[in-house]
């Protein structure tokens, strides 16, 4: 066989194999360190701090676990959350994340490494991203080979779609869940390939870990049965399939019920019924196979008919009856919103109000996946070309995850692994074709054997071979096609030659494919390397700029380019911690509940675990009502302080005024008579300036946000920088609340709820009386001034 470039021939196969495996290990180690390193931007740019909202609760729970032990954590009742209801934390969380950190903490301390629990929490996600890279390597290895695995590992290590949820400090369930997802899928593929109950059990155990770690486990619960169902419908039922699925389902389902938060759901809710149904179907099919082995086909058809009719009727009436009697709960709201994107907005505003439940914008696909999104379809097509059982899994995964990623932003996370896997398969096929040194010059060999047909082949060879370098540049554009096309297939201009040479090649060796010449390879490979380099640059840029902000600490750039840290949140939370009574209840919108509990250590009315819609609506009502109506609500809930986020001064757009309409909508869902969304608009426009609607101007949220805001600007016109509107110079007045604290950049404003008036008057009257006295005292002076002037 002629080669495009020489290969050393004096190497023994064992040396090659050993070197290859050593190189693989080194590559995986480097990928892991790259994955960890690129997640540390947040720590370097800011500090080792827990990010965002939910992580603050996870961190707080982990601290309890680390300091008091697992049993205390399991039975932990948190009286400060959802004041006055409290929260049974042990039974309402997925404990996998905290348990993982707790175990790591205890191991490190047993080794006399006194690492702070906060640093473990901050660095858990980067650490697990290295495991994810490894799991993806193993998974992709099952799809194609080791080199595709390494590419996939490198992709998942640095792809922004996954980094967005796993930077250092983003201590959330997803941090470990993606590793568990990939490893469960890998174990499943392995179990299916080998027909091994061992791997089925491994898959079940990791499924259990996944259930304990993330609510997204339902994705696995439905992906694997779907895969099995498709395989069965394609007539690919095998005993291996039976072994793998049965062992996974029987152990995995029982294991998943050990998590208190999941409880009996696997046998009670519709989300889990698909897995159960496929399990039952598989048993029937397996039994059918057994019967078929023992009877003639005609008799079998009779038996099959009777059995199908009987079991079908039983199963149908069983499911209908159980649902009717309320044994199987119907789909939950979050699930409906996956199918009907408008559903949540209509019926459950609390779900729609979360920004990560919004549909995905198209640019974010490119932003999160860069060139992988172009390779992704190519990889899926390559899966169709081989189409073993495991490739069907990737295809189904790709289709399902693409749909879900389009529906909800946060589900981009489940799409990312399959994009990395199939892009790696596509890219590695390309590299395989172009790195392979053998050249397909079958015609030459044939010429030597001197058959009459070789005369035609010879003539075509002589035209084809010199033409290849000239068209090398063209071939790079259609490189995906080229890998599958026969050797001469890309030479567009030489159609006639192609036809004759293809005929000749087909007659000689129909499977012969390959690339001619060194320059073709170099051009294509340089292009590929260029794409990979751009990918790395893009990933690093996106990670450092978009995904590494803790959102607890903000930063802006000064005019000289230096970084300016805006630390209003912590300033305000520490003010609360140090200046208020320990049992002072703080009311805020639910977004800040976990942060207040974590940083200020004060009881909150509502927090990010949005389980009680009415309670949240109560807060929404208080915020969107006039003071007189809000005050009794505040007093009934023992609220001492009200906290609002206001970005109007420095242009922080994620503030409460921008979230305010959701408060109104959620409150309207519970009190449709008292709160109506249209009242907060002025002729269909959401305004905060002098044109604001009366309901808007009177509501507590508006008053607290803009209280004394205009004074800050002195004689100039006060401008809200987020909304870009001019705020009236005569700001709102407060009768029932007192400004207690406003942070440096006015992002956090805290108001103290006034106690009842000592004389028993209404606070408004008392306030008016106080001001009235002042006015009496000042009025004569001003009048005198006017006269004298």
């Amino acid at each position: 066989m002629p080669a495009a470039y020489p290969l050393p021939t004096d190497l023994s196969p064992t040396t090659v194999a050993n070197t290859a495996s050593l190189l693989r290990i080194i590559a995986l180690a480097l990928i892991s360190s790259a994955a960890i390193a690129s997640r540390l931007f947040a720590v370097i740019n800011f500090e080792s701090i827990i990010h965002e909202f939910d992580p603050w609760f996870n961190y707080r729970a982990t601290r309890v676990l680390a300091s008091k032990g697992f049993y205390e954590f399991w039975n932990w009742f948190d009286p400060t959350a959802w004041y006055p209801l409290g929260r049974v934390v042990g039974g309402t969380i997925y404990p996998g994340l905290m348990a993982t950190s707790g175990v790591i903490y205890n191991i490190l301390h047993a080794l006399n490494l006194p690492v702070d629990i906060r640093n473990i929490c901050v660095l858990l996600a980067p650490g697990f991203s290295a495991f994810t890279a490894w799991a993806t390597y193993m998974f992709t290895k099952e799809m194609k080979d080791e080199s595709a695995g390494l590419l996939a590992a490198a992709f998942i290590g640095i792809v922004p779609g996954y980094i967005s949820r796993s930077v250092a400090g983003s201590y959330d369930n997803e941090a470990i869940a993606i590793f568990l997802l990939m490893f469960t899928f890998f174990a499943w593929i392995k179990a299916l390939k080998q027909g091994s109950a061992f791997w089925g059990t491994i898959a079940a155990v990791f499924y259990f870990y996944m259930v304990a770690a993330w609510g997204g486990y339902a994705f696995i619960t439905n992906m694997i049965p779907l895969h099995v169902l498709v395989l069965m419908l394609m007539g690919r039922f095998t005993s291996r399939l039976y072994v793998a699925y049965s062992s996974w389902y029987a152990i995995g389902t029982l294991a998943s019920m050990q998590v208190p938060f999941v409880g009996f759901q696997p046998v009670r809710t519709s989300e889990h019924m698909a897995a159960l149904g496929v399990f039952g179907l598989l048993q029937i099919v397996a039994f059918g196979q057994l019967v078929r082995a023992h009877v003639s086909s005609k008799q079998f058809q009779g038996l099959l008919f009777a059995a199908v009719v009987f079991t079908g009727a039983i199963g149908f009436f069983g499911i209908v009856g159980l649902t009717y009697k309320g044994w199987i709960a119907p789909w939950t709201g979050r699930f409906y919103s996956l199918w009907d994107t408008g559903y949540a907005k209509k019926y459950i505003p609390i779900i729609a109000s979360v920004s990560e439940h919004q549909p995905t914008a198209w640019p974010s696909f490119f932003m999160d996946l860069h060139f992988l999104i172009f390779l992704f379809p190519a990889g899926v097509v390559m899966c169709f070309r081989t189409l073993r059982d495991e490739h069907i899994f990737v295809i189904i995964y790709a289709v399902v995850a693409s749909y879900f990623a389009g529906v909800m932003v946060r589900l981009m996370l489940t799409l990312t692994p399959v994009v990395c896997v199939s892009a790696a398969v596509a890219l590695s096929s390309l590299m395989d074709a172009y790195l392979d040194p053998t050249e397909p010059e079958v015609e030459d060999e044939k010429k030597e054997s001197s058959t009459p047909a070789s005369v035609v082949a010879k003539s075509s060879t002589s035209t084809t071979t010199p033409a290849t370098p000239a068209t090398g540049k063209k071939s790079k554009k259609s490189k995906d096609k080229e890998t599958s096309a026969p050797a001469g297939g890309v030479l567009g201009e030489l159609v006639s030659n192609v036809a004759s040479s293809a005929v000749a090649a087909n007659s000689a060796a129909p499977t012969q494919k390959g690339i001619f010449g060194l320059d073709t390879r170099v051009v294509v490979l340089l292009n590929t390397i260029g794409m990979l380099l751009f990918f790395v640059v893009h990933c690093t840029w996106v990670t450092s700029n978009a995904y590494s902000s803790p959102s607890v600490v903000l930063s802006s750039t000064n005019s000289d380019g230096s970084q300016h840290i805006i630390d209003d949140f912590r300033e305000a939370y520490y003010w609360l911690r140090q200046n208020t009574a320990e049992d002072a209840v703080v009311m805020s919108w639910w977004d800040y509940g976990y942060q207040i509990a974590g940083m200020a250590d004060r009881p909150t009315l509502v927090d990010n675990n949005t389980w009680n819609n009415t309670h949240i609506a109560t807060v929404g009502k208080a915020m969107s009502s006039p003071e007189e109506i809000a005050y009794p609500i505040l007093r009934k809930h023992d609220v001492s302080y009200v906290l609002v986020i206001f970005g109007g001064l420095i242009g922080y757009s994620g503030d409460d005024i921008n979230k305010f309409l959701w408060m109104v909508r959620i409150a309207q869902g519970v009190w449709p008579d008292e709160i109506q969304e249209p009242n907060y608009f002025n002729r269909g426009e959401y305004r905060v300036d002098s044109e604001a609607s009366p309901a808007m101007r009177d509501c507590l949220m508006y008053k607290m946000s803009y209280y004394r805001f205009a004074e800050l600007f002195g004689s100039q016109q006060a401008v809200d920088r987020v909304r870009g509107q001019q705020v009236p110079a005569q700001g709102p007045t407060l009768d029932y609340l007192d400004e207690a604290f406003t942070s440096e950049n006015w992002i956090v404003r805290i108001y103290e709820v006034k106690k009842d008036d000592v004389l028993g008057r209404d606070l408004k009257i008392a306030n008016a009386f106080d001001q009235g006295k002042k006015r009496k005292r000042t009025k004569p002076t001003s009048r005198r001034k006017a006269i004298s002037a």
Binding site: G195, T238, S239, I251, L254, M257, F287, Q299, G302
Partner: protein, 125 residues
């Protein structure tokens, strides 16, 4: 699952079906190795125990629901693990399970059962 299935077929009676069942039974007795018959005996015992538990749950009470689930899941789980073992050691399936020798199959079976019963025990309450 084997038990109720064969009885279900006889209930949808026709003379042809019953003849087919007779053939099936005879063929089973003749062609199955003794080892597999032994496994099948265990399987039918598990089915019996599962059916009993289910009948108890439906007819009497499901009160400690976790205990019922644990018991029933142990029946179902043990059944499928044993059925998997049966499929793996079946000489007819030799070509399908290239990576799983009968010894390996038994080790898998033992491991799966241990993990299963660990969870069963934990869930009994």
């Amino acid at each position: 699952m084997a038990g109720p299935k064969s009885s279900s077929k006889s209930s949808s009676a026709s003379s042809e079906t019953s003849a087919a069942i007779a053939t099936l039974w005879k063929s089973y007795l003749d062609e199955t190795p003794d080892r597999l018959k032994f496994i099948d005996a265990f399987l039918s015992f598990i089915v019996l125990s599962g059916v009993l538990q289910f009948a108890y749950c439906v007819l009497v009470t499901n009160y400690p629901f976790n205990a019922f689930l644990a018991g029933f899941a142990s029946s179902v789980g043990q059944f499928v693990l044993t059925a998997s073992l049966r499929a793996q050691v079946n000489p007819e399936n030799r070509s399908e399970f290239k990576d799983v020798s009968p010894e390996r199959a038994f080790a898998d079976f033992a491991l799966g059962s241990i993990v299963l019963h660990f969870f069963v025990f934990n869930f009994l309450g």
